[in-house]
Symmetry: C2
């Protein structure tokens, strides 16, 4: 897929069919994630790929705005060690995951991690180190669901030449 199409056609999708995500596609997606920009090349990120139904159910029960994770075939948890720019770095990697998934014909959704009360429980459930921050949870899979693009602020409204 061409880059601009992947960037502008991506949607947040929350329902998937049962088809598993092939492991070679997961590797491509994480390869794109690890090439995200990162302050001072610190690369504070680690990615946990969950496909076991039992664990997906635990994640869905913890994430109050991500209950549909329980019914997803796969979920990527993005963790970062506690660096000054962990959230910027983890968000850049998260966005690369979403764009790479779109490019591969997969659907996905960014479920918030940072600042959520369930961060520590997700971290402990997946065995990540105590000083790690959960940046995001990304359920993904195949879907026939292509939600209508939510209303977006117009280009002319968000773009300011020379000054705000």
């Amino acid at each position: 897929m061409q880059t601009q199409e992947a960037l502008t056609e991506r949607r947040s999708v929350r329902t998937f069919n049962a088809k598993p995500v092939p492991s070679n596609l997961i590797e491509i997606i994480i390869d794109c994630a690890r090439h995200a920009p990162t302050a001072r090349n610190v690369q504070p990120w680690d990615f946990v790929i969950v496909t076991k139904k039992e664990t997906l159910k635990i994640l869905g029960s913890l994430a109050d705005n991500g209950r549909f994770i329980a019914e997803s075939p796969c979920c990527i948890a993005v963790f970062c060690s506690d660096t000054k720019y962990y959230l910027e770095d983890g968000c850049a990697a998260t966005e690369n995951i979403l764009i790479a998934a779109e490019d591969l014909g997969l659907s996905a959704c960014w479920v918030a991690g940072d600042k959520k009360p369930y961060c520590d429980k997700v971290r402990d459930s997946l065995g990540a180190p105590e000083d790690y921050k959960l940046v995001s949870l990304i359920p993904l899979g195949y879907s026939l669901d292509k939600p209508v693009m939510p209303s977006k602020r117009a280009l002319k409204e968000v773009m300011h030449m020379e000054r705000y």
Copy 2:
């Protein structure tokens, strides 16, 4: 450019030649930015496009780790209003800008905004509202400079199946 190539071949580039960035490319880039994921579709972002030499010099003098902005033909300042997920949203938009720029044959660099002592001065210099947060500054332009990819943690090191 194919999406995976844009995601994995992007580099942080800090030297540009004098060629201006065509305004139609800027519009494509900001169009990609405004399609970034955003919590609850809040879209807290606004983008200020700076091309005036005088303003670029001011930005370069304020951003201690972005002095090269002064010598860049263009700089995009990403601001967000102060929402709960402004940093996630602003970082997703920033990453879309970097990927779109790569796709268009431009080079760019993510200069930190949030948590930097110069945030308020940049905001005031560009006339953004007082409650706005500077998320990033993105100098961009044409460059023959293609820095060697910095050492990256291997796929097998960052990717964990089922548990960390």
